[in-house]
Structures are given as structure tokens and as C-alpha cells.
Chain length 219, copies 2
DNA sequence: TGTATTATTTAGACTTATTCTAAATAAAAA
DNA sequence: TTTTTATTTAGAATAAGTCTAAATAATACA
């Protein structure tokens, strides 16, 4: 009757994976069916195993990007994502929660909270650990108009804009970019202006930091 | 004749402790004799058990202060400290290394590296994992606060130049920097030119990446 | 299908940022 | 003290970036 809850682990920290594995091994209702290291690896294994839960880290410089998480959620309706975050950085928490993940823990959570979160996530319920919950309550996800606007995050960047960000972080000058893309240097400026506006930032430095944080570029 | 290596664990993250415990349990030569949560707890247990190795986290807001580490090292000559750092702590790496800890890992290290580090640390040898080692080698900077010079390579960059880098990575414009430092904007340009020349790079982007890599600035 | 929306592209006039050359002054080391 | 290194600066020339405003291309929508 009660089928086991199947789980895929993706945390890049070996010790965390090991700890989780033993923790889960103590519970007969939950079974780790695979571990994944790369996004490609993960999407393949999610497809193969159709797990109930993917347990995933979320660092400042995530190995698994938001797009990866989104893709998994979109293509596997029965698979839910449980984030175990290493930090309590507010901004990334809200970003992740908006993506539609079901569980959110920190690595300071104890055994009961972790097991509880796995059960809840597998059922498609939300589970957010206390320390995170406090943060969430402090600053409501969307302050005022939640009914119509489900989009209080900074506007999404277009493909071209992300391309420009990549080139910027590679240190290319505006002219070089224009030449490379065979477009006017004015276009580059326009894109950049829109990027800074969308991200509500003011400088190339912040842009690069953003790119690193969101995993657009590798450090 | 081969006595077991005795270890005390102090990491506040439950999963990390659990992972370490199971990892160590697989190795007959190493034995966890205690776990400690608070500094008082730790100093008492170190005194009681006289372990070969104390495995300790080091976060940005450490539960165990530098003074705690120093105290343990000073009062227990046969006890060595192995730091397992979360990788966000780049700035503090150098601080910790100067304190005289013997081992330094990140939580991304694998089993072999961890076991190897415990062995090395227990013998009083140095063990620094590869990712940290690279950082150490890359960073040719002494911090401004009169660090002992033998501990880090002589700085290629001057104090002022590092100051400029910090401001650049904070996203300040040249004019803002000039105003802040009460110097001509030309001076800023000169510094920047020299910085780029010294680091053999060509753009602000690369400079920011450099600053992030070497821990001048946090991501 | 046509229409609205969004993304991508561009120019010209204008402003600001940066480089170059070259050197003076200050601080530290030999 | 002398020498070296660090920090500072200016003026002229050049390059980079901004602003306004809009055209075109691609996509979603009904």
C-alpha cells in the first residue's frame, strides 16, 4: 500500500550527501534511488527514476541553476523539489521560493525537520523550516498586490540580454561585442541599459556579481 | 603500537556531523571520542579526552572564535585542529591559517581528502585541500593590518591599489572614488592602469573576477 | 489570420569617462 | 643620504557611454 518515497540527492558537498544518505537509511519509508552531480546527470536521472523528491542544495553560486530547477518542475509533475540551503541569504531564498519549490531547509536543521520536510515535499505540500519561515514572514513575498501580479521579481532577462551579460563578464568591450555579434554598438548600450534597469543595479561591477551569483558565469 | 587517532567533532551542522561520523566509522584507525556544541563544552572535552584532532567548522559568524581555537592550540600541544570550512569563507581562510591550524578543508572535499587530512593533522603535519591551496597560491596579498610577512607572499599590489580594487568591486564610479578618497580622478585612473598592468588583465570585469577569486571581495 | 506584445535593432547629438604623456611630491628602503 | 617605490596630479586627445526616439523582427494571442 504505502509505497516508498523515492529521492534523488544532488548536493555537491560530499559530507552532506553522506549525512543525508545515512539519515534517510534509518527511515524505511524513504529510499535514495540515485545521486546526481551535474545538471545533465540530474535531468536524466529524474526522467529515469521519476522520484518523488529531489533534494537539492542552493548556494550563492549554484551548480544547478534556476533554469534547471524550473525544467525539472515543468517536465515532471510528480517530482517535487526540496532545497537545502547553506546560507540564510534572504534574496536567494525568495528567488527560490518563487520558482515553486516545495521544501526549503537550511543545513542547520535537525533530523526531525529534515525527515518531516521529505514527507511533506513528497506529498506536494509546502515545508519551510522555522528559521527560514521567520525570514519569510518578516518580508512578505509580494507586499501589496498579490492577486494579479505573481511577478514581483525583477523582470526576466531576455536571451540576448543574458548573452550580453556573458560577454561583459568575459571582459569584452562594447565595440568587441558589437563586432562579434555583428550589431551596432548602440544596441549593446541599449541592452546594457535595459539589463541594469531590470536588475535595479547601477554598475558593471554589480552586474558581474549578479552574473556570478546566478550562475550565468563561473568564477 | 598503532594507537587510534582520537577525534572530537564540533560542527554545528547536524548533517555534517552525521556525515563525518559515518565516514570516520568506516575507518578503523580513527575514532570519534566526543562531539561538542559550545566553546565551553569543547574546551572541557578537549581537556578530558586529549584528542589528536579537533575537527571544527569555520563560518563567517563562527560559534567557535579565534580565541577558542588559539586557546586549544596553546593549552593542548598534542591536539591539532582541522578546519572544515564552508566555501563562502574565503576572506577568513587566511586569518585561520595564520592562527596555526594544521588542516584546512572545504565541505566539498571528498572522502579520501578528508581521511587524508585527519591522518596528516593528527601527526601535526599540514594538510590543505586543493581548492584552498589554489586560493592561497593565487592570493599574493597581505592585508593592510600588518600581518606577519612570512605567512603570505609579498604583495605585488600596494595598499592603495587594493583599496581601489575594493571600491571598484563595490561598484563605485571613478568620480565617486576620487571624492571619497579626496584625490584627483586622474589618480584613480593611474592606480587602475597600474593594477591592470600588474595583474596582466585588460578589463574591469576581469578585475572583479580576480577580486572575487582572491577573496578581496565577497560574492 | 490579423493584431498586440515583446524583443531586437539602430542613429545622431550629446555628455562623460578614460587614456596618454610626463612629472612632482611623499614615503620607505638601502 | 641616496635610491627606490608609492602616491599624486594636469591638460589635451580620444574613446566610451547616454539620451531620445523610433524602426524592424519575432512571438504570443484570440
Amino acid at each position: 500500500m504505502n509505497k516508498k518515497i523515492t529521492v534523488i540527492l544532488t548536493d555537491p558537498q560530499y559530507l552532506i550527501r553522506l549525512g543525508l544518505k545515512y539519515l534517510i537509511a534509518e527511515n524505511e519509508q524513504i529510499q535514495v534511488v540515485a545521486e546526481a552531480i551535474t545538471p545533465q546527470d540530474l535531468t536524466k536521472k529524474v526522467f529515469d527514476y521519476q522520484p518523488n523528491v529531489v533534494i537539492m542544495d542552493y548556494y550563492n553560486s549554484p551548480i544547478f541553476s534556476k533554469a534547471d530547477i524550473q525544467y525539472i518542475l515543468d517536465t515532471n509533475p510528480k517530482t517535487y523539489v526540496l532545497i537545502i540551503s547553506s546560507d540564510e541569504d534572504r534574496d536567494s531564498i525568495f528567488e527560490v521560493l518563487r520558482m515553486g519549490v516545495n521544501g526549503f531547509l537550511t543545513k542547520h536543521c535537525d533530523k526531525d525537520e529534515i525527515i518531516g520536510a521529505i514527507y511533506a515535499t513528497a506529498k506536494g505540500e509546502k515545508f519551510i523550516c522555522n528559521s527560514i519561515l521567520n525570514l519569510v514572514l518578516e518580508k512578505q513575498l509580494c507586499d501589496a498586490s498579490k492577486a494579479t501580479k505573481r511577478d514581483c521579481a525583477p523582470s526576466k532577462l531576455t536571451k540576448r540580454e543574458i548573452e550580453i551579460i556573458e560577454l561583459i563578464t568575459q571582459g569584452l568591450s562594447t565595440k568587441e561585442m558589437a563586432k562579434l555579434l555583428n550589431i551596432s554598438h548602440h544596441t549593446i548600450y541599449t541592452h546594457r541599459k535595459n539589463i541594469l534597469k531590470k536588475l535595479r543595479i547601477n554598475s558593471a561591477s554589480e552586474l558581474i556579481l549578479y552574473a556570478i551569483k546566478t550562475g550565468i558565469v563561473e568564477t
